[in-house]
């Protein structure tokens, strides 16, 4: 029944074969490397290292919340410094950097069939500026007064006043400088990702044949290039307010009985700028996760992703809509109340394309041939946590429901579930999935299973009950919950339980890190394509792929990325670069 007709005419190469920089020494090969794959590993390692700091900070916060008064060294100042650094590190320096700088660098050139990013030198600079940003941020732990404790949203005026840790010391300055550096570094990388996807795809790789991973990362990068400038100007202006005494965000203020030399500024302007960046940022993290998880589900269920075109348009639609929903973070900020009608409507509209994505993931499972590998388990867990967190977003997005819940633990539970746990589960799944390509060896399965079960169930047990503490009216960002009357005795017990779960889940991550290192030498040999996947990164002549990715000849793409279980085909997958067309293949075009 195999029915292969000769390949259609292959479109000519649009881009000339690129000249690669060939490293001359160990330094230019492994340290100042211009190879996107090395840069990807540098990004990932740095992000993981600073992410571990944020993990430890979350333990310290949970110690205080679960067992108040027990740990003297966690003063209110220290507590606010912990939450601020935890939030900022996780959102920007871990998630954004890992998805775009890590997965983007590794996967984009390989998946689109390019030898490297189009601007390798700028790509290298992007990493080194990112590293500098991380070092500046980390240095604030050692600066006089310690890091800023303004909350990760850095709302003025308090962010630059004495009542806030680091406000009149070095903390806030180092934070703002670090963010500015991060944005500069990201822009260099981001331009690379966008231009590479648009200009350096191999022959036959039309946009509608791109794997959804590339669509997710590409769209997120375009969004980041548009959204980060808003944060950039907000940071520059606040830096001026703090260092030069300007009043962009500072109205007339009496601080502890003393008139400050500020006047005429608008604190709420900062919030608009921050969230004009901040809401797209949620999707900058989510869209790469959406894309990656689509490919994990499709590969491990041996079935084409359901509704590919709808999936692409949903990604693009969510990306566009996410620029007109930002003020749903500001329903109770005191902005004009009529904004509430507009932003609640746009916010609930965005639920529709998001729901379509969820349906298409579960419909991909329907009538599949589901291999319950570790990446697949993480993908399933992602759907559970993402659906849970997405649905509670419908509470907070619906303006009047947000009024009692805003600024409570409900919000903390919601955003951790939807943009903390869910994307991180995808990151884990993706690491189990692509580690064999990066190292040539499989991660240990038993450790992977342990890591999965503890992380998934533990994280769910942390954040699901936390919603109800918020529903009781317990505010977030309270160092002491004992002073609130809404916090009952039993809720304190629940809080202690949540803290214990947080320590357990954190411990499981140590097993994961051990697995990453142990398997480099001791993992099972993977071969070039252990998951029998269709996309180009699995078709490289060498594993791990050499500099230049594809040997002498770039691959030519003949089909979409999802020809799994094509009726009549010999194998249950047909690589994108396999010539010939199957009559039974129904690639959406």
């Amino acid at each position: 029944m195999v029915d292969i007709t000769p390949a259609d005419a292959v479109p000519p190469a649009e881009v000339a074969e690129m000249e690669l920089y060939h490293p001359h020494s160990w330094w230019t090969k492994y340290v100042f490397s211009q190879d996107a794959k090395v840069i990807a590993i540098q990004y990932s390692a740095t992000a993981t290292a600073i992410g571990l700091v944020a993990l430890v900070l979350s333990w310290l916060m949970r110690l205080q919340l679960g067992f108040p008064g027990t740990f003297d060294f966690i003063s209110p100042e220290a507590y606010y410094q912990f939450i601020t650094m935890h939030g900022m590190i996780m959102v920007i320096y871990l998630l954004t950097a890992l998805f775009l700088g890590g997965f983007g660098n590794y996967l984009i050139p390989l998946m689109v069939g390019a030898r490297d990013m189009v601007f390798p030198y700028v790509n290298m600079l992007s990493y080194w500026i990112y590293l500098l940003a991380v070092l500046v941020l980390a240095s604030s732990f050692f600066a006089p007064g310690g890091p800023t404790g303004a909350g990760w949203t850095l709302y003025p005026p308090q962010a630059i006043m004495t009542g806030t840790p680091g406000g009149q010391d070095w903390g806030i300055i180092l934070m703002l400088v670090s963010l500015i550096l991060f944005i500069i570094g990201f822009t260099m990388g981001g331009l690379n990702y966008v231009v590479t996807v648009l200009q350096a795809r191999t022959r036959g790789m039309t946009l509608m044949r791109l794997p959804l991973t590339v669509w997710g990362i590409f769209t997120a990068t375009v969004m980041a290039l548009l959204a980060f400038p808003a944060l950039f100007v907000a940071c520059v202006m606040m830096l001026f307010d703090r260092a030069l005494g300007t009043s962009f965000f500072m109205p007339a203020i009496v601080e502890m009985g003393e008139q400050l030399q500020h006047g005429g500024g608008s604190p709420i302007l900062f919030q608009h700028l921050f969230w004009f960046f901040g809401h797209p940022e949620v999707y900058i993290v989510a869209l790469p996760a959406f894309g990656i998880v689509s490919d994990l589900i499709s590969t491990h269920a041996r079935k084409n992703i359901f509704g590919y075109r709808m999936m692409v348009w949903a990604i693009v639609g969510i990306g566009a809509l996410s620029f007109v929903v930002w003020a749903h973070h500001m329903y109770v900020s005191g902005m004009h109340p009529y904004f509430g009608f507009f932003f609640a409507t746009t916010t609930l509209i965005i639920a529709v394309p998001t729901a379509i994505k969820v349906y298409n993931w579960v419909l991909t499972l329907w009538r599949g041939d589901i291999h319950l590998t570790v990446p697949m388990l993480f993908a399933l867990a992602f759907i559970v946590t993402f659906v849970n967190g997405g649905l509670t977003g419908l509470f907070l997005g619906n303006v009047v429901v947000d009024v009692p819940l805003s600024d409570t633990m409900f919000v903390v539970a919601h955003f951790h579930m939807v943009m903390g746990v869910a994307p991180i589960l995808v990151i884990f799944g993706a690491i189990y999935h692509w580690y064999p390509k990066v190292t040539g060896r499989m991660l240990n399965e038993a450790m992977g299973q342990f890591h999965f079960w503890v992380t998934f169930l533990g994280a769910y047990l942390i954040f699901f009950p936390m919603h109800y503490i918020g529903l009781m009216g317990v505010p977030r960002r309270y160092h002491e919950l004992t002073a609130t009357t809404v916090m009952t005795e039993s809720a304190h017990d629940l809080n202690a339980f949540i803290s214990i779960m947080a320590f357990i889940v954190g411990f499981a991550q140590i097993v994961f890190l051990f697995n990453l290192i142990w398997s480099i030498r001791h993992g099972r040999e993977a071969g070039g394509n252990p998951w029998r996947a269709t996309t180009l990164e699995w078709q490289t002549p060498e594993t791990p792929p050499a500099h230049g990715n594809f040997g002498k000849e770039l691959p030519i793409v003949y089909r979409w990325a999802y020809d799994y279980s094509v009726p009549g085909a010999k194998e249950d997958f047909i690589p994108q670069n396999m010539p010939g067309s199957f009559e039974s293949s129904r690639e959406p075009a």
Partner: protein, 271 residues
């Protein structure tokens, strides 16, 4: 296989937790039971969707798990199904949004008979100001703040003289009368939040924000600050007592006006 069972348990456990756990909102003490109703509607819709999606996944994982010789179906698209799901989702979203916007319209439309109370936040305490017999609050400005005039009331404004000033003490409100809370801060962002009233709003230095509600139960309620305002944030508690009309008038009679509070200085300067 274990995962299919666990997915079912996640749904069952979440539903049981929702109905059986003792952690639920505080009894409401304002007119905003509309908000509670909207939350209940949202819980039902989202709960059904969550259970349906996860149980469907569990079924798929169980039914279509890999066994020797299995082959997945090949079905790239199904336009009909995709459109149906889109339309059903849009209906569900509308069912939450419409009541939400309806109630929001009430939330932002202050009744004309609402009395005005000003709340002033500062690190880390609450003060209040009520209009005097003229029913009008005098103007104010952060620039006027001084130890003698902690709320920055405009001393030359005739409307301000009979304003009742309650500095760093409890606020009393009469039960059953709508009240518009005018919110002001003299230093950083704060947020006036009483969980039992369900309403809250940020206070911004340099602006006056507001929300309104009608207290429906007498009693003592804790005021929380719900916007991070520095290291004293969790300790910025206050008290609102909702009184019967008689108790309220008795309390009001004991309070001092702005003119009375500033009187010693005026006497001093006259001499």
């Amino acid at each position: 296989m274990a995962i299919a069972l666990v997915l079912v348990l996640v749904v069952v456990g979440s539903v049981l937790f929702h109905f059986l756990s003792p952690w639920w909102w505080t009894p409401i003490a304002s007119n905003w039971d509309y908000i509670d109703n909207t939350i209940i509607i949202t819980f039902w819709i989202t709960g059904v969707v969550f259970a349906a999606v996860v149980l469907f996944m569990a079924y798929c994982v169980f039914r279509f798990r890999h066994r020797e010789g299995n082959q997945a179906a090949y079905e790239p698209e199904n336009k009909r199904l995709e459109w149906w799901l889109t339309i059903v989702t849009a209906i569900g979203v509308t069912a939450m949004l419409v009541p939400g916007l309806f109630v929001w319209n009430q939330f932002v439309s202050v009744p004309s008979d609402a009395t005005v109370v000003e709340v002033v936040g500062q690190q880390w305490q609450w003060s209040f100001r009520l209009p005097g017999k003229d029913g009008k609050l005098g103007t104010s400005d952060t620039r006027n703040v001084s130890p003698e005039n902690p709320l920055g009331v405009n001393a030359s404004d005739a409307n301000a003289q009979d304003d009742v000033v309650v500095e760093a003490a409890d606020l009393h409100l009469p039960v059953g009368k709508p009240v518009k809370m005018l919110l002001r801060s003299i230093d950083v962002l704060h947020d006036f939040y009483v969980p039992e009233f369900r309403a809250k709003m940020d206070m911004i230095p340099g602006s006056v924000t507001y929300f309104w509600f009608t207290p429906t139960k007498t009693g003592t309620f804790q005021v929380l600050c719900a916007e991070l305002c520095g290291q004293g944030h969790p300790l910025m508690n206050g008290v609102v007592m909702v009184d019967t009309p008689e108790d309220y008038l008795a309390w009001l009679g004991e309070q001092q006006t702005f003119a009375q509070l500033s009187a010693p200085q005026q006497v001093g300067s006259a001499e």
